[in-house]
């Protein structure tokens, strides 16, 4: 039963999505209900496993591709965090999508792939070995690319092409890391502390490190690591539910998640710590943070600005990850969770503004706060949280990351903390300019231009408000969650 509960939430949305493509296009009203039912069913299963049987669950082998290429699911601490996260976000985001996508010509296709993506993301979360992870990682590219392509405009086509090239290219390098783990690891299953077996003939530390770096950048593509980040701002042409959920959470977090898996569960933090590879990846992460937040300040397109913000914030997660310590991993996981809520909330707000007022650029947002007070209030909360203002969730995770960085010590630790704060400042700039503009329009702005603009309907507003509430909640009360994360990072959370 337990095994079935692990496999079913992955397969159900995938099958459901394929099935949906068979429902006639005309039955437009059926699609959302069908989608929500499937999504809720999967989430319910995940919660069932989370709350009841996680301890006894030994995992489930779906099938075996060849030899040790098993497709294997298991819910350990990290899997619980990620699957729990997406299982909360997805039903709400789907709700938002209903209203947002109303009247869209390709609604069916959209919801079909949207549902499939859920299954695939859960597959990543629950994967018990690197092979399974890689499989779903590739599948993720495949099922999300139709969503980017959705509008079929020139821009969308170009963006989806870029997205595919980057993702596949990244996977090609990640693949190398996979091969090395298969050969030099004692097992492909995820084991905290790594699985490398130095007894395998031909074990050459430098080569393995090189391969780790390649794989890091490979998976880093999805996590929008500089210099392989540039697909992320481009794909913001996709409909907002996609940019919000996929390109701020599911897809990019999968990249970060994969890197965490690779680092802590396959290669092993102790093996990497203090090596040149460690400093290479640390450097890349720091550069990304600086780059992402600086570009976000320069960008005036609302959604693209948020996309750049995602770039830098993902690297916060990675920054935690490359501390190569239990504290770092716990910090990374905490930011992984909190950033998901912050970014999805801010994207949904941006989407609501685009949907209701048709404003796409930051300089067009004058006075919007008067017309859509709830949306903008939630956006402000998300913005303050992203900036890392205390009492919001973002502060907690940044504090954790910084403490991990201090724990690393030396120049790298100093640099990391400094970069974190520089980026926080930039975050303050790019988020707060929006807020200030929305609430304090310059004198003489045209008030009539916003006539008729009003708050979106309950289906869009509910998720936004819930996410904002979650941000506040975690800002004030994150201790049980963080204890759980620490346990996970310490290895006792399985």
């Amino acid at each position: 039963m337990n095994q079935l509960l692990l496999v079913a939430p992955v397969l159900l949305p995938i099958a459901g999505g394929i099935l949906m493509l068979m429902i006639p296009e005309k039955e437009a009203r059926v699609h959302p209900i069908f989608t929500e039912l499937i999504v809720l069913a999967s989430s319910a299963m995940i919660w069932a496993v989370l709350f009841t049987g996680r301890e006894q669950g030994n995992g489930a082998v779906l099938f075996s591709m060849a030899g040790n290429l098993k497709v294997f699911f298991r819910m350990d601490g990290m899997g619980a965090v990620f699957s729990g996260l997406v299982s909360v976000l997805w039903p709400l985001a789907t709700l938002y999508a209903f209203e947002y996508m109303e009247g869209d010509r390709r609604g069916r296709e959209f919801f079909a792939f949207y549902t499939m993506t859920y299954g695939v993301t859960l597959g990543i979360a629950l994967s018990g070995n690197l092979v399974t992870l890689y499989l779903f990682y590739e599948l993720l590219t495949l099922v999300t690319f139709p969503l980017v392509l959705h509008d079929r405009t020139k821009e969308a086509i170009r963006a989806s092409r870029k997205y595919l090239y980057y993702s596949i290219g990244g996977a090609a390098f990640a693949f190398i890391g996979l091969v090395f783990v298969l050969i030099y690891g004692s097992t492909a299953d995820f084991t905290l502390g790594g699985v490398l077996n130095k007894g395998v003939p031909g074990f050459d530390t430098n080569v393995i490190l090189f391969m780790y770096v390649l794989a890091f950048f490979g998976f880093g593509v999805k996590a929008a690591l500089f210099p392989v980040h540039s697909w992320l701002p481009s794909v913001s042409v996709a409909p907002t539910p996609v940019t919000a959920l996929l390109h701020a959470v599911a897809v990019v977090k999968s990249g970060a998640f994969a890197i965490l898996r690779l680092t802590y569960f396959s290669y092993g933090a102790d093996f990497l710590k203090g090596t040149w590879a460690h400093y290479v990846v640390l450097g890349a992460v720091l550069v990304t943070i600086v780059y992402g937040s600086t570009m976000a300040v320069k960008e005036v397109h609302f959604k693209r600005r948020l996309a750049y913000s995602t770039i830098s914030n993902l690297s916060y997660v990675l920054l935690g990850a490359v501390m190569m310590s239990a504290a770092g991993m716990a910090a990374a996981l905490s930011h992984l969770v909190f950033h998901a809520f912050m970014k999805i909330c801010s994207f949904f707000c941006a989407g609501a503004v685009m949907h209701q007022a048709g404003r796409n650029y930051v300089y067009e947002l004058d006075g919007i706060g008067k017309k859509m007070p709830v949306t903008l209030a939630c956006f402000t909360i998300a913005g303050l949280s992203l900036t890392g203002i205390p009492l919001f969730a973002g502060f907690i995770s940044k504090w954790n990351i910084a403490q991990a960085a201090v724990g690393l010590g030396g120049i790298p630790g100093f640099l990391a903390a400094g970069v974190l704060l520089y980026s926080a400042l930039m975050t303050g700039i790019y988020m707060m300019t929006v807020v200030v503009r929305a609430y304090f329009p310059k004198e003489g702005y045209d008030e009539t231009a916003l006539d008729g603009v009003k708050e979106p309907g309950w289906r869009m507003l509910t998720p936004i408000v819930i996410f904002a509430a979650v941000i506040l909640f975690f800002g004030l009360y994150s201790r049980p969650l963080f204890h759980f994360l620490q346990q996970t990072a310490g290895g006792s959370g399985i």
């Binding site: 504090w399 403490q403 724990g407 994150s478």
Partner: protein, 493 residues
């Protein structure tokens, strides 16, 4: 530790009142009714605070944020001084604002945030540890932002953003230090003389000093210390006059409070004495004092001139703190209060002039003393205080600062400091007294025919008069303050 939940009242009551006021924006109430609510809140807040301050050294833990971070409050001498100062000034300036804000829009928003900031200030004064302090420091920044933005003109918005970014940058620099010192026990409760775990810091002195320096610079931003002073002359003048007054008079002092907490209550003065941090810090403050005065002297626009003056004067305080000497410390604490009263009065005076005549430039103020005698009298008296002419209060604090410097044993700074203080005092006279002189003695060619009485209402003049009296009287009877300050200093040194 015994929990005294009464401490939370002066923190959260004004915040709640502020939110209520914001909510009143849409209510169909008369202006008077709304202002009564605000006034009531300000008075109650004053009472609550005094009540708390009289309860002795009590503390309360509000919330355990993470395993290491606690949000808790505690009252000590420094808290009393800062909290007492801010709530009293808040009430007086509030009264002034009731009249002044009548020619501005969105009054509810102004008073709403005005009250919320007051809560944040009290929380800062009561904060019991570094992170809790940092939390409310940020709250203060974000809630005071609408005060700067209030007029919503393009320059106001640009100034608001500049204020925001400098503040956030400063706060993050401070946070950088907190990150690094957290491991050495720096996020525990404040204690006079420092709380760092000496065994843990051994061997990490470089890191420790760098962190301390970052925190001083970071928190110094709010106090307008060079090189992070740039926001101050832009932001203060753009706000409505009552807001400028409290920004300059009180909120900058919270930067000072932060530095006091960091240097004297977390790191401990002994660790910093005769290190590069102290030296650089002294250089920066002296530079700020000099530059601020010079810029004020050159400035033509009244409120900007006052803002530069703030830059210079707050650095007097920081200079006093940087000497790490008891006498200088007492002088600094005294100057916190005196300067606050003086600068509030000055800004209110400038505000009253703008309110009545719309004149903003110094050169336009010829003969103003004839038109608004009470206002300009107050202005004159506090100007003299600020210059430091005995027997006003400014003289007392500067005396302590100078003697502290001379006996601090900081080498060249022990005499350079007093010299610069003196030069700056001359400049202060140079930039403030012309207002008085031209105001009362407009010269022979002045057209007395067009002169009309424009004295503002009692709601505006009374707060000015009260504060002026305070500033002058405390110069003659400085005992209360000096006693409190030396009580605090005794614990420290």
């Amino acid at each position: 530790m015994e929990q005294d939940f009464l401490l939370l009242l002066p923190i959260f009551f004004p915040m709640a009142a502020g939110i209520l006021t914001l909510a009143l924006a849409k209510a169909k109430m008369g202006r008077k009714a709304k202002l009564t609510v605000v006034f009531g809140a300000l008075v109650l807040e004053l009472l609550f605070t005094i009540l708390c301050l009289m309860r002795g050294d009590v503390s309360v833990t509000l919330w355990q944020l993470t395993d290491t971070i606690r949000i808790s409050f505690h009252v000590d001498t420094i808290s009393r001084i800062f909290a007492g100062l801010s709530v009293s000034v808040w009430l007086l300036v509030g009264c002034f604002a009731f009249s002044y804000m009548s020619h501005e829009e969105h009054e509810e928003r102004f008073f709403g945030f005005y009250l919320i900031v007051e809560g944040a200030l009290t929380a800062l004064s009561f904060a019991d540890n570094m992170v809790g302090f940092y939390v409310f420091f940020e709250v203060m920044t974000f809630t005071s932002l609408p005060l700067v933005l209030h007029e919503m003109t393009k320059p106001a918005i640009m100034a608001g953003l500049k204020y925001l970014f400098y503040s956030v940058a400063g706060a993050f620099m401070a946070l950088f230090g907190i990150f690094f010192l957290a491991g050495y026990g720096a996020i525990g409760s404040f204690q006079a003389g420092g709380i760092l775990d000496a065994s843990a810091t051994a061997g990490h002195e470089g890191l420790l000093l760098a962190s301390a320096f970052m925190m001083i610079i970071g928190f110094g931003t709010k106090a307008g210390m060079f090189p992070m002073h740039g926001w101050l002359p832009t932001a203060h003048p753009e706000a409505p006059a009552p807001a400028s007054a409290v920004l300059s008079g009180v909120i900058t002092k919270m930067g000072v409070l932060a530095v006091i907490r960091v240097v004297y209550y977390v790191i401990g003065p002994d660790i910093l004495r005769r290190t590069w941090v102290q030296t650089v810090w002294m250089i920066l403050t002296l530079t700020t004092i000099f530059l601020g005065s010079m810029m004020a002297y050159k400035e033509k626009i009244m409120k900007k001139r006052l803002a530069y003056s703030t830059v210079s004067q707050v650095s007097y305080i920081l200079f006093g703190l940087s000497l790490l000497h008891p006498a200088a410390f007492i002088g600094a604490i005294a100057h916190v209060i005196f300067h606050s009263l003086v600068k509030n009065t000055l800004f209110l005076g400038a505000g009253a002039i703008i309110y009545k005549t719309g004149k903003t430039k110094v050169a336009e103020l010829r003969g103003i003393g004839k038109e608004m005698p009470v206002t300009i009298w107050c202005f004159t008296l506090v100007s003299i205080t600020l210059v430091g002419i005995p027997p006003t209060s400014g003289f007392v604090s500067k005396w302590y600062l100078a003697t502290g410097a001379l006996s601090s044993g900081t080498g060249v700074f022990s005499w350079l400091g007093p010299v610069i203080l003196l030069i700056s005092a001359l400049l202060t006279a140079g930039y403030l007294l012309p207002v008085t002189i031209h105001g009362f003695f407009p010269g022979a060619d002045y057209d007395y025919g067009s002169l009309e009485k424009r004295e503002p209402s009692a709601l505006m003049t009374v707060p000015m008069i009260l504060m002026t009296m305070g500033a002058v009287a405390l110069g003659m009877f400085p005992g209360v303050i000096l006693n409190a300050a030396s009580a605090a200093a005794e614990l420290l040194f």
